[in-house]
C-alpha cells in the first residue's frame, strides 16, 4: 500500500482538519441562530476570554505529545494570580519584576516536577497531581480573599487594545495568546527540541537509544508547561485585575479537553499546537452560544464538550486502527512463521 506524499500529508493532518471543520460548522450554526453572532467582536471576545486557556493548552500539547500529563496548571494559574496581587499590592514589587519572579518560580516548580518524573520514574499523573494540590494549597495559605491589583500598569494593559471597529478589540491577553500559539508551533514543528518531544511520545526507551537526552527533554517539557501556566496566570490576573486563590479551578481539565479535541493523541507521539488552539476556540464557542441563548443551563457547555471529546477519541481510535491494520498483518505472519 503506497501513498503519494500529498496523500500521506493529508492523512497526517486529518484530525486537525476535522477540528477546523467542526469549528467552522459550529460558528456557522451559531451565526445562523443569532444575527449578532457573526461579528468580529465575537471572534475577538473568543480570543480575549480564552487567552489564559489557550496559553496553557499550548504547554499541555507538548506534555501530552511527549506521553505525559500536567494536572498542576490550573493551580499554578491560581497561585500566580495570588502571588502577583500580594507582590505588587503588599510587598511593593514593580509589576514587571513581579512577572519575572513568578515566571522563575514557575520554571523551578515545573523543572522539579519533570525531574521527579524522570529520576524517580513516577507516573506524571501522580507527580503533577501532587503539584496541583501543592500550588493550590500554597495560594490559599497566602490569601483566601480576592485581592484587587491597582497598579497603573494593570489598568493600562487592561484598557490597551487595538480597536478594529464595531466594538471589536484585540486585547493584550489575546495578543499574548496568539504569540504563544505561534511560538509553540515554531518550537514544536521546526526545532530539534520539538522533534525530541515527538520521539519521547513514540517510545521512551527507543528515544534513549537514539541518543536523545531523555532526562533533559523531560525536565524541559514540564518546565515549559509550568512557565506557560505562569504566563497564563499573568494574563488571568490582567483579565480580572485581581488575585484570587480560587481562580482557574479545573482549567487543567479544560486544557486537556482542548488538546484532545485538537487532535492530539492522549497516548503521545502525535499532535499539533494549532489543533489545541482550535480546541480552545471550540469550547469558547459553545459557551458563547449558551450565553447568547440565555435560557440554557450553562452546564450544557460541559455536556457538549464531553460529547465532542467522546467523538474525537472514537475518531482517533478509528483512524489509528485503520492506519495500523494493513502493516501489522504481514508482520505478524512472518513472526509466526520464523521459528
Amino acid at each position: 500500500m503506497k501513498r503519494s506524499p500529498a496523500a500521506s500529508l493529508l492523512a497526517r493532518l486529518m484530525p486537525v482538519l476535522a477540528t477546523t471543520a467542526v469549528f467552522i460548522a459550529g460558528f456557522l450554526i451559531c451565526s445562523a441562530a443569532y444575527p449578532n453572532f457573526a461579528s468580529l467582536r465575537v471572534v475577538m471576545n473568543l480570543l480575549t476570554d480564552n487567552a489564559f486557556l489557550g496559553i496553557v493548552a499550548v504547554g499541555m500539547t507538548f506534555v501530552i505529545i511527549s506521553g505525559g500529563i500536567d494536572l498542576s496548571v490550573g493551580s499554578v494559574i491560581g497561585f500566580t494570580t495570588v502571588f502577583l496581587a500580594l507582590a505588587i499590592e503588599r510587598w511593593g514589587f514593580p509589576p514587571l519584576l513581579a512577572f519575572l519572579v513568578i515566571l522563575a518560580v514557575c520554571a523551578i516548580f515545573g523543572a522539579a516536577m519533570g525531574a521527579v518524573i524522570q529520576y524517580f520514574e513516577l507516573p506524571p499523573f501522580i507527580v503533577t497531581l501532587a503539584g496541583m494540590f501543592l500550588a493550590r494549597g500554597v495560594s490559599f495559605l497566602l490569601s483566601t480573599e480576592s485581592i484587587p491589583i491597582t497598579a497603573d500598569l494593570y489598568s493600562h494593559l487592561a484598557d490597551h487594545a487595538v480597536r478594529l471597529g464595531g466594538g471589536a478589540r484585540l486585547t493584550v491577553p489575546a495578543m499574548i495568546m496568539l504569540a504563544v500559539v505561534l511560538g509553540g508551533m515554531v518550537l514544536l514543528h521546526l526545532t530539534r527540541f520539538g522533534a525530541n518531544v515527538y520521539a519521547l511520545g513514540g517510545s521512551r526507551t527507543a528515544t534513549g537509544l537514539m541518543g536523545i537526552n531523555v532526562p533533559r527533554t523531560t525536565v524541559a517539557i514540564y518546565t515549559l508547561s509550568s512557565v506557560l501556566a505562569g504566563l497564563a496566570g499573568i494574563v488571568f490576573s490582567l483579565y480580572t485585575s485581581s488575585g484570587y486563590s480560587l481562580s482557574a479551578v479545573g482549567v487543567e481539565l479544560d486544557a486537556i479537553a482542548a488538546v484532545v479535541i485538537g487532535g492530539t493523541l492522549l497516548s503521545g507521539g502525535y499532535g499539533f499546537v494549532f489543533g489545541s488552539f482550535l480546541g480552545v476556540l471550540i469550547q469558547g464557542l459553545i459557551q458563547t452560544y449558551i450565553s447568547f441563548d440565555g435560557s440554557l443551563s450553562s452546564w450544557w457547555a460541559k455536556i457538549a464538550t464531553g460529547l465532542l471529546l467522546f467523538a474525537f477519541i472514537a475518531f482517533q481510535q478509528l483512524t489509528l486502527h485503520l492506519a495500523r491494520r494493513p502493516r501489522r498483518r504481514p508482520r505478524l505472519a512472518t513472526a509466526g512463521a520464523a521459528p
Binding site: V22, P148, T240, S247, S298, F312
Partner: protein
Amino acid sequence: MKFKALLLATALSGTLFSVGAHAAELTVGFSQIGSESGWRAAETTVSKAEAKKRNINFKIADAQQKQENQIKAIRSFIAQGVDAIFLAPVVATGWDSVLKEAKEANIPVVLLDRDIDPSGKELYLTAVTSDSVAEGKVAGEWLVKAAAGKPCNVVELQGTVGASVATNRKKGFEDGIAGASNVKIVRSQTGDFTRAKGKEVMESFIKAEGGGKNICAVYAHNDDMMVGAIQAMKEAGLKPGTDVLTVSIDAVPDIFKAMAAGEANATVELTPNMAGPAFDAVVAYKAKGTVPPKWIQTESKLYTQSDNPMAVYESKKDLGY
C-alpha cells in the same frame, strides 16, 4: 469528518428549540453566580417570573461560581447588544475593564444582591441589595415589642464568623434592642449558618442556662440555624414558640412551616426578588432617562404567626429554596 460536524451540530442544535420569540421590547442579560444555595436558586426563579410579568426578554448565564465565566457572559451580552445587564458579582474586585466595555457600548449595568469595590462606582447604574443591618434591627425591634417590658434573656446563634452578613445582622439586632434595658443577649455563638450546627449550639445553650429555664428568646442570623435550634428545644422538652420566643432572618419556606405549627414566632425576609426593582429602574431609565439612586434597598419585611404562614409556605415552596 462529516460525522463529527454532524455530532457538534446535534450537540448544539439539539438545544435550539428553546430559542424563544424575540417579540419583547427590552432584552436583559443576567450574569448569575450559580445555584450554590436555596436562596440563590429562588432568586433565579423569581427573576425569570418578574421578567415575564414585564414582558422582558431575559437571558440568564449561570457562572458556576467562576468570575471568568461571569466576565465571558457579560462580554457576550455586550456583543449581542442587550439593553441592560444584571450582575450578581461572585467577588468584589476585577470588574473594571469589562464594565468599562459595557459603559462604552452604552449598556447600563445593575448589580444584584452584592456590591463591588468602590473604585467601580461610576461603572454601574445602581445596586439592588438588602440591608443586613436593617434586617437585624427589624428582628430586634420585634423582640422588644414581644417581650412587652418583661425581663428577657436572649441567646444568639451567629452566622459564619467574619462573614459581613453575620456582623451586620448582629449589629442591627443590638441596635434594635438598644433602647430596652429588659432585653439582654446572654449568650452568643456561631452556628455557621447551618441547621446541624444551629442544633448543636442550641443544645449547649440549653445546658448552660439551667435546662433552658433562663432563656426567654432565641435570635438566629438565619432560618436554617433556627430550624436546628427548634429541634434542640423540642428534644430538651421545651416549647419553642410559647416558652421560648424565636426570631430569625431569611424567610425560607421551612420556617413558615414551623410558624404554622406554632413552633416559631417571627422571621425577617431577605427577599429573593432583587430583579423586580432592578427591572423597574432599567425600564424608567430607558424610557425617560430617570437615573435611579446608586443604592436601591430591598424591603426587610417581618412575618409573624398572624401572617398566615401556611399560605406563605405554599407560595414559596416551589421557588427552588
